[in-house]
Symmetry: C2
Subunit: 295 residues, 2 copies
DNA sequence: CTGTTAGCGCATTCAC
DNA sequence: GTGAATGCGCTAACAG
C-alpha cells in the first residue's frame, strides 16, 4: 500500500528528513555578494572537496547584513557546516552562532578562542609590503595607496604593509596619498580622480584590490595618463579579468583555489571529530604583468 | 524558565522550523556550475526581486548530474521554489519533481504542459540569425559556426538560426564549417584549430557563445591570423570579459539581468496563486565592438 | 498573557 | 521479512 504509493511518484520532503536525521549533508558557502564574479576559483576548490566527501554545497549571500540569508544559515544551523567569506557579518554574530558540532571556517577574519571556528587567511600585510616594495624597486620614488573599507581586516592589514614598506625604503608617506576606494571599481575610479586632481601625482599606485585598479585604469585613461609609462600600478587578488586589462595588470595573487580546498578539508576534519589548528595562513604571490614599468 | 534559556543564547533549528511551517522562505537558483563566473548579471536580477519579497536566495550547483545537490533540491522541495539554469538535469527529472505549490522557472529549456513549470528563454534562433546576418552584411562571403553540445536546446536553436541565415543570403553552407566546441573555451580553441588545419578558412566565424570565442581568439593568435583584418568573429552572450578581449568581442547580448528579474517575479506570482503565462521570450541584441571588420 | 500540547513528515525502532 | 509506533525540535493553537 505504502510501497505502491512510493513507486508511482513519491516526493519526499527534505526538511522533514533533515530534522529526523539531524544532518543535512550540506555545506554552505556564505558570500557577501552572490553576484560578485570573483570567487570562482575559491568555489571550485571548495566544491571539489565537498563533493568528494559526498556532501552538497550551496552558496548563500549575506547581501543585507544581519537580516540576510547567510545570517539565517549561520544562526539556525541550516547546514552541517559553514565557510564564511562575508565581511559584512560581524564577528560577534559569528561567535554567537557557533555551537558544538557546527564547524565554521572563516576566510575573511581571524576568530580566536572558539574551538568550532577556524580561520584561514592570506598574509595581507606581507603581500602589501611586497607589492609596495616591487613598485619602489622598479623605480617609483613615490607610491600612493587606494585602500578598501576601514572596517575590513584585509584592508587594514594591506594598508599597514604598505606603510611599513614606505618606512623601510625611505619613501615619503603622505596622508594625501592614501585614499579610500571601498574595494569597488567605482570607488577606485573616484579615488584615482581625486589623486589626479590633487595635482602632485605619485609615480606608482598600489590598489588594495584589482577591482579598484580597474576603476583606476579607467580614470587614468580618461586623463591620458599612460600606464606604465607615466605611472606604474599594482593590484591585489589576481582576478580573472586582470590579464585581460590594458595593460595587463601586475598584482598580488591570492591562492584562492588552495584556500578553498583547505577550508573544506579542515571542515570535514572537524565534522569527523578530528582536532585541527585554529588558524592557517597563505602567502600572496607577485604576478608580474605590464602595468609596472621595469628598468 | 524557557524564556530564560532563550535569553542567554538560544539557537533554533532551521530545519525543524521549516518542517512545522511548511515553508522555507527561500528560493533556490540551480546552476550547472557554481564556479562559472558568467551568471552575475542574472543573479543580480534574481537577488533583487527575491530580497524585495522578503525571501532568501541560495545558489546550488548541479555539477554531478542527477545525483547533484541541485537535483536533491528539486526532488525534495527544499525551498519554496526553484529557478533552473542547469542544462545537465534532464527534463523528465524536472517534470517528475514538479508538484502543486512548488513553482519551477526554467531558463534553459521549454517545458510544456505542466502548470507548475514556467519557461523563459531568449530567441536563440533569431539571435543566431542576426549574428550570421551581421557577418554576411559586413562582407563575409563565408561563415563557419562553432556550436555547443548537441543536447543543448540553446545550441540547437543557434545552429538552426545560423543555417537559416546562410540559406536566406545565399551563402555556402558546408558541413566542414560546422564544428562542435562544447560551449567551453578549450572546446572553442580546439574547434578553431581544426578549422585552421582544414586549410580553407572562412571569412567569418559565428561562435555559439563567448567562451568558445575566447578560445578561438587564442587559436587564431597562435597562427597569426588577425582579427578582424583576416577574419571576423562574433560571439553570443556578452559575458563580462567580452569588452576586454583583444579585439573587443562583437557579440549577441542576452538580457540576463532582465531575465533574472522576470524569472523571480513570475515565481512570486505563482507562489501567490496568481496565474501566469506558461512561456516568456526575450530577444538577443547585437553589441557591435571590434572583432567584425566593417566596410 | 503565560504555559502546555499536538503534530508537521520523515527515519528509526520495535513488535510481529 | 513487513507494518505500526515513536520522536526529531519546533510553531501554532489552545487552555489556564
Amino acid at each position: 500500500m505504502l510501497s505502491a504509493a512510493k513507486e508511482l511518484n513519491y516526493l519526499k520532503s527534505g526538511p522533514a528528513s533533515d530534522l529526523k536525521k539531524n544532518r543535512t549533508k550540506t555545506i554552505a558557502l556564505l558570500l557577501s555578494d552572490l553576484s560578485g564574479p570573483f570567487y570562482s576559483e575559491l568555489i571550485r576548490g571548495v566544491q571539489e572537496i565537498v563533493l568528494e566527501n559526498g556532501y552538497d554545497l550551496i552558496a548563500v549571500s549575506s547581501y543585507a547584513d544581519e537580516s540576510s540569508t547567510a545570517a539565517r544559515f549561520l544562526r539556525e544551523a541550516r547546514t552541517d557546516g559553514v565557510i564564511l567569506l562575508a565581511h559584512n557579518i560581524n564577528t560577534d554574530f559569528v561567535l554567537n552562532s557557533a555551537r558544538e558540532g557546527f564547524p565554521i571556517i572563516a576566510l575573511d577574519r581571524e576568530v580566536i578562542g572558539n574551538p568550532n571556528i577556524i580561520s584561514i587567511s592570506v598574509n595581507n600585510s606581507r603581500g602589501a609590503y611586497e607589492a609596495t616594495e616591487h613598485l619602489i624597486n622598479s623605480g617609483c620614488r613615490s607610491v600612493a595607496h587606494i585602500s578598501g573599507p576601514a572596517n575590513s581586516k584585509d584592508s587594514q592589514e594591506r594598508l599597514a604593509g604598505y606603510k611599513q614598506a614606505l618606512a623601510d625604503f625611505n619613501t615619503p608617506s603622505l596622508y594625501k596619498w592614501i585614499l579610500n576606494g571601498k574595494f569597488t571599481q567605482e570607488g577606485g575610479y573616484e579615488a584615482t580622480k581625486m589623486l589626479i586632481h590633487q595635482g602632485d601625482l605619485p609615480e606608482g599606485i598600489f590598489y588594495g584590490n584589482d577591482e579598484m585598479a580597474i576603476g583606476g585604469l579607467n580614470a587614468l585613461k580618461e586623463y591620458e595618463i599612460r600606464v606604465p609609462e607615466d605611472i606604474s600600478i599594482i593590484g591585489f587578488d589576481d582576478i580573472q579579468l586582470a590579464p585581460y586589462l590594458r595593460p595587463p595588470l601586475t598584482t598580488m595573487r591570492q591562492p584562492k583555489y588552495e584556500i578553498g580546498k583547505l577550508a573544506s578539508h579542515v571542515l570535514f576534519q572537524l565534522l569527523a571529530g578530528e582536532s585541527v589548528s585554529s588558524h592557517y595562513t597563505f602567502d600572496a604571490e607577485l604576478i608580474s604583468r605590464e602595468s609596472v614599468r621595469l628598468f
